[in-house]
Amino acid sequence: MNKHSKMMLTGNKAAAWGVRLAQVDYVPAFPITPQTEIVETLAQWFSDGTLTGKYTNMDSEHSMFMAAGAAAATGVRVFTASSSQGILHGMEALYTIAGWRVPLVMVNVSRALATPITLEPDHNDVMSTRDCGMVQLHAETCQEVLDFILIGHRIAEHPQVALPVLVNMDGFYLSFTREPVVLPEPSEVARFLPPYKSEQPVFKASQPMARASAVFGGATYSYFKIQQDLAVRQAETVFHEVSEEFAQYFGRNYGPVENFMMDDAEFVFVMSNSFATKGKAAVLELRKQGIKAGLLKLRLIRPFPTQAIADSLLGHHKVAVIDQNLSPGMGGILFPEIVTSLYSRINRPEKFLSVIGGLGGKDILKEDFFSIVEHLRSDKSEGPLFLYNDDDLKQFKKVSHIALAEKGGSES
């Protein structure tokens, strides 16, 4: 392989390459669309000797996450992947292994949650894992997926963090989408990410220890939870250190947020994951029409980079947070987090708008961004504003017409 060779890779393949370059020792797996390609690729590489560790098919995501945590507790480098209903099925285990304070990297390929069932993405699955006590990095491109897996292992394995790191990518829009990805030189990756040597006590044969004791009375429980909070917060400092080093090795520089056309922006869209690409395109279109738009992309979701967000947003007048998730009865999940990051600051934006779009893989159009600007300009109440138009309703009615035909339903 040439130094910095480029390949057309799907997000799933890019993830598998990240795992391969990280020389991961153990992968417990349970396939679920749209992440199956990750574990299929890894299974192939473990089976043909490209990867020398162990790959195990588990009987569910719950067992898979427990196996991942248990393996990490022995001091080996661990990777696993899930999606949607799968990660929800493993939810109990996610809280558990995060509490064990063991390092590993997992990919979540975002896919909307039932009901209704769909295969296309939104972020309710990954947002449901928001409070487990894991570090979360959200990727916009296939390149970020690969790079975040390498950076993720460094953060996870840092002695002051020692936590699972979740790398998120959108199903289909990244997972099945091919684009050029730079493959870092393995020897350089080996220097950036040397084999894992745990600095904390690990499970060894004939040396009994426990990682999951029961505690009563609240004071001990609270102590460990506060320590977990401190460790997740510490991950931001570690992220900065590791990112800087990564940039020195590989030339790509990742901050906790990315500012796009922000300098003089009057209207700011806050987004994460692959649809941020669409947001950037919309910003350029709006600028052509004389509308000073900008975009703030979130990469680090946990710990939540409040300072970086404030640094980016202070001084801008109007901010729309586009959530591709919905907490019914409340609105977007990231919206209040963004507002909280700014509430106590002087010179905070005068208008915040919560926008919900892209649910279940529904596209977000450039025209939608124009509508958001109009809303930000108007004196309408804060929302949430749902990105749902006439065409969307027509599409729904077509399906509804078929579904209700027997009952003589919806004729319009």
Partner: protein, 301 residues
């Protein structure tokens, strides 16, 4: 508001006692609240229960740290530094202990803030119910009588409410007789008012991050259950009659806790620091050479 704290062991009916007292207060027209506190339920393990009684709505929940009345159903708990049943009791706290000892004897042994009230409830429960370790009715009655503001008929009604569903009519009748007996054996006390302290801020601290082995629920010391002395969970103690023991070692095999060891002469030896008093050994001994004795007495043999 009157706050009552009950101490006892799993299986002694401590939670039920708090409920009988709660219902009795409710029957007497008070606002009442009761609840128990225990971990994974285990017979013999220390448990705590609470009853709050007030003429006005009760704006409090959770454990009672500074009780007006402390009812100790099992005096062996006084030896337990983790349970520390006297914790939070001051001169204004009325303390009742189920014991055979005299006030003077027990005061010499333990640091009571004031002279405790004493009655041997176990003996009465044995007489009335044939089960000395079931203290629910007896302890609730002691509490109700000491408080002095609960009518006997309301208390008897509460015993029927709490036990009537699960007991045979004749057993319930014996509980009612036990209630009357204990009610008339004790006198009401004046419950002193607790001084009202002005609120001061809590000394909050900011925790610093510590290394993972201290920051996560990790146990590095293996086999540390030996340090967890479970011997004080016993209400009853097994005692091997070595004059007749034929070293068949069935007790050794049947002990679910592995607390019976074999000495150099091949005889079974009970580790009283860890034996939880389940008495399976006594039931299994083919020759009935293992006696069952009341723990508070056995401990001094």
């Amino acid at each position: 508001m009157i706050q009552v704290r009950f101490h006892g062991r799993g299986g002694q009916g401590i939670k039920t006692a708090s409920q009988i007292l709660g219902s009795a207060a409710f029957n007497s027209g008070f606002q009442a609240q009761d609840f128990p506190l225990y971990g994974a339920e285990r017979r013999g393990a220390p448990i705590v229960a609470f009853t709050r009684i007030s003429p006005t709505p009760i704006l409090e929940r959770g454990p009672i740290s500074n009780p007006n009345l402390l009812l100790i159903g099992d005096e062996t708990l006084l030896n337990d530094s983790q349970v520390a049943p006297l914790c939070g009791a001051d001169e204004s706290t009325i303390v009742f202990v189920n014991s055979t000892k005299s006030t003077e004897q027990i005061q010499k042994q333990f640091p009571f803030p004031a002279a405790p009230l004493i009655l041997d409830l176990t003996d009465r429960c044995q007489n009335f119910l044939g089960k000395g370790h079931i203290l629910s009715t007896a302890l609730a009655t002691a509490g109700a009588r000491i408080l002095g503001n609960i009518d006997l008929k309301d208390l008897l009604e509460a015993v029927k409410m709490e036990l009537g569903q699960s007991l045979k009519p004749e057993t319930l009748q014996k509980n009612l007789e036990l209630t009357q007996d204990i009610f008339h054996s004790l006198s009401p006390c004046t419950i002193p008012e607790k001084p009202i302290k002005a609120l001061a801020s809590s000394p909050l601290i900011e925790l610093k991050q510590t290394p993972v082995h201290e920051a996560a629920p990790i146990i590095l010391a293996p086999g540390n259950m030996a340090l967890r002395k479970t011997g004080n969970w016993r209400m009853q103690r097994p005692k091997i009659d070595y004059d007749h023991c034929n070293k068949c070692l069935i007790c050794y095999a049947r002990c679910p806790e592995g607390t019976i060891k074999i000495d150099e002469d091949g005889r079974p030896q009970i580790d009283y620091e860890h034996c939880k008093g389940c008495m399976i050994c006594a039931q299994e001994c083919p020759g009935h050479f293992i006696q069952t004795i009341r723990e508070s007495e056995g401990a001094h043999e």
